[in-house]
């Protein structure tokens, strides 16, 4: 099966500019996640979608970050305006269902991420 697709692979912007990332999960996967991975750290969950609804956005900086998942398939994550501390890899992941046993058994499937550099 095709994996989780993300684009672009790299992006360099100046602070205060806007940027958007795109993610296409594995076909049929109901749950989609966006993670932020700052250099030297583990991934941190930003937002989680179940179909096209948000189920957890507690760690999303909502003053500058937004995300949507129209039609419950692909998703976009936007930053506006960007700050220097937003420099990171943004990973998208998906899983088939959001129940503990199933998710615990399969884990998530991650994409290759977008490396954002804010200068």
């Amino acid at each position: 099966e095709a994996g989780v697709a993300q684009s672009p692979r790299y992006k360099i912007i100046e602070k205060r500019q806007s940027v958007a990332f795109w993610c296409n999960p594995i076909s049929g996967h109901a749950t989609l996640y966006w993670y932020q991975q700052i250099l030297g750290q583990g991934p941190k969950l930003l937002i989680q979608f179940q179909n096209n609804g948000v189920v957890d956005d507690s760690q999303l900086p909502k003053d500058r970050f937004s995300a949507e998942r129209l039609k419950g398939v692909d998703s976009t994550l936007k930053i506006q305006p960007a700050k220097l501390e937003d420099s990171a890899v943004y990973l998208c992941a998906s899983s088939p269902v959001e129940t503990g046993g199933m998710v615990g058994h399969y884990g998530y499937t991650f994409g290759s991420g977008t490396r954002l550099t804010v200068v």
Binding site: Q41, D56, G100, Y108
Partner: protein
């Protein structure tokens, strides 16, 4: 607080040798899942091995095995017969039921493993 600690920022091992990566975690939950993920330069997180906390038997996947000590909250990864392709960042993580009623990962800060020819 739910935390994962990987105390070895970097490690190296000779090809064909065995290496153990350590991981400790802290949670008040009794039911959870534990994972090791590998992240090569391609950046994609690849699942290496998983362990259900309610199982006492240690998980094994080919050259990869874990030493799960639930009372000590320890979950180390052993890589046998190390190969050059094992060079990557390795992240330990556990999955818990969050306050929002969904399941999510808590990741450690990673161990960079380099396999030497």
């Amino acid at each position: 607080a739910q935390t994962v600690t990987q105390s070895q920022p970097e490690m190296s091992v000779q090809e064909a040798e065995t290496v153990t990566l350590s991981c400790t975690y802290d949670t008040s939950e009794n039911n959870y899942y534990l994972f090791w993920y590998k992240q090569p330069p391609s950046r994609q997180m690849i699942l290496v091995i998983r362990q259900e906390a309610y199982k006492q038997q240690n998980a094994t996947e080919n050259r990869f095995s874990v030493n799960f000590q639930k009372a000590a909250k320890s979950f180390s990864l052993k890589i046998s017969d190390s190969q050059l392709g094992d060079t990557a960042m390795y992240f330990c993580a556990f999955m818990i039921l969050s306050t929002s009623g969904t399941y999510k990962y808590i990741f450690g800060t990673g161990t960079r493993l380099k396999v030497l020819a």
